[in-house]
Amino acid sequence: MKKRSISVFLGLGLVVLGSLWLLQRLLMPKYMGDIVEGALISEYYKETTDHDVIFVGDCEVYENFSPITMWEDYGITSYIRGSAQQLIWQSYYLLEETLKYEKPEAVVFNVLSMKYDTPQKEAYNRMTLDGMKWSKSKVDDIRASMMEDEEFADYVFPILRYHSRWQELTSDDFKYLFTKRPVSQSGYYMRIDVKPAQTFPKPKKLANYEFGENSWKYLEKMRELCEEKGIQLILVKAPSLYPAWYDEWEEQIKEYAKTYELPYYNFLELTDEIGIDFTQDTYDGGLHLNLSGAEKMGAYFGKILRDEFQIPDRRADETIASAWAEKCAAYYDMQKRQQEELDTYGYLKMFNSDKE
């Protein structure tokens, strides 16, 4: 009798846990529709081979560099751990976590996020943090990122955060309940459509151009982390025309790079050399590059990585080569799909399903 009742309660316990787990999966956003950026972070864990170069940062990395090009041209293996409005501490903790899985030769950080000294938006926090596997890094990351009205418990049990999505559930939520489709190519977010750069309004004057303490703190931590692991840290500013990159900011970064002998490339000043044509190489009027722009960036930056930092050519390595062969296939397949949509609709249906 006693035995039986115990087993019954165990059974019910399992039912409860199982159903809750399932519900949580169902209710969490899948980011498989028009907005896929939320799915970027978790995609990293599917990687089978290590990388020599890791990018961290916001859309200025995951929409501006094409790892595939760097592989094809120089055999450089790279991955972009980027996410929407990734804040610098998020970049740091993502890096910290990544280094638990592998030890790259170089780490590339895009400095734009230095301008944010405090958490910005809950929605972006979720897109960066929900995808991470649990680790001390994630816990610290959440702590550093939470806004006042956020609760840690909402991250531990995302169902507490997303419970009201039952009203917005779509077929995608069931379709991708257990497995998601890949949305990026090694963390790169591909767009092949074209929208020529616009002339942006005069940048607003700022009261204070000094980067915030918090930003500096985490840049320091990032530098120290790389130093102790013997990893080359490379600072870059992607060639995005907007949001504005102020000269005052440029100076501070230059200064910092000089003090610690860090390489720093501001691609905004190199666009001619790279050959970026802002009437052709951007898909949203100059904020982000499209595929052709990103490939030019890849080619240019790949060269730097090889020549300046001796990032090795891995094409000889069987396992790596085969892994990347798949990546390339997916890459061209994606390009083909986008081309088809562009031809049929005149725009990319996959990112604008609601547009007539």
């Binding site: 028009d34 907005i35 950026e37 939320g38 916001d58 859309c59 929407a84 409005q85 972006y124 897109m127 009205d149 616009q198 002339t199 942006f200 309004p201 005069k202 607003k204 004057k205 700022l206 009261a207 204070n208 907007y242 949001p243 949203d284 009027g285 904020l287 609601d354």
Partner: protein, 190 residues
């Protein structure tokens, strides 16, 4: 809305504190002081006048006879303003809907999307050909500013910010002279 926020701040932690607020007929969670209930009455009154009125309780920029209130529906305003010099759409990462910027002689008008409508997000002076209804423009002195708006501002790194209802008015002052004027909306998203 305003009351809900009040209630939220009143009741402290937790996210459903708003609930307390309407249930005064029973609980201490809300002890309306006379002051509050009056203010409540007023806000209701205001709201009842007309939505437009309510917007106009914040700072407004006036050019010609066009009144630009923060958070106001941009469509009619753009209608009145007519042809612009430059127009820019900007997206933030992973966010549908566009932030739009319209440049007119002397100022830029920024809008943000909300529920399918574009609302005024900010007005930014680009030169000294325009001035606030209170007569402050780029080149005015800090004294003139204080004369026009008083000293009830927050100052940080020479940025003087006045807040009124759901709008902010910010002046950047370098060595006593204003070199930037900006209206910004306190948006529901923020």
């Amino acid at each position: 809305m305003i009351l809900m926020i009040a209630a939220l701040s009143m009741a402290g932690c937790g996210s459903n504190s708003g609930a307390g607020s309407t249930t005064a007929a029973k609980t201490e969670a809300v002890e309306t002081t006379a002051a509050e209930s009056r203010q409540a009455a007023e806000t209701t009154a205001e709201a009842s006048e007309s939505a437009k009125e309510a917007e106009l309780t914040g700072f407004t920029f006036i050019t010609g006879d066009t009144v630009i209130a923060m958070n106001a529906d941009a469509a009619p305003i753009l209608e009145e303003l007519g042809e612009w010099e430059n127009y820019v759409e900007t997206t933030s990462c992973a966010f549908k809907g566009l932030d739009k910027t319209y440049s007119y002689p002397g100022f830029d008008l920024y809008t943000y999307p909300l529920d399918g409508k574009d609302n005024v997000n900010s007005v930014y002076f680009v030169d000294d050909t325009v001035s606030t209804p209170e007569g402050i423009h780029i080149g005015s002195t800090k004294e003139e500013m204080e004369a026009a708006y008083g000293t009830d501002y927050e100052e940080e790194f020479g940025a003087y910010t006045y807040t009124k209802d759901k709008s902010k008015l910010q002046f950047l002052v370098t060595d006593g002279v204003i070199d930037s004027v900006e209206y910004t909306a306190i948006t529901p998203a923020a």
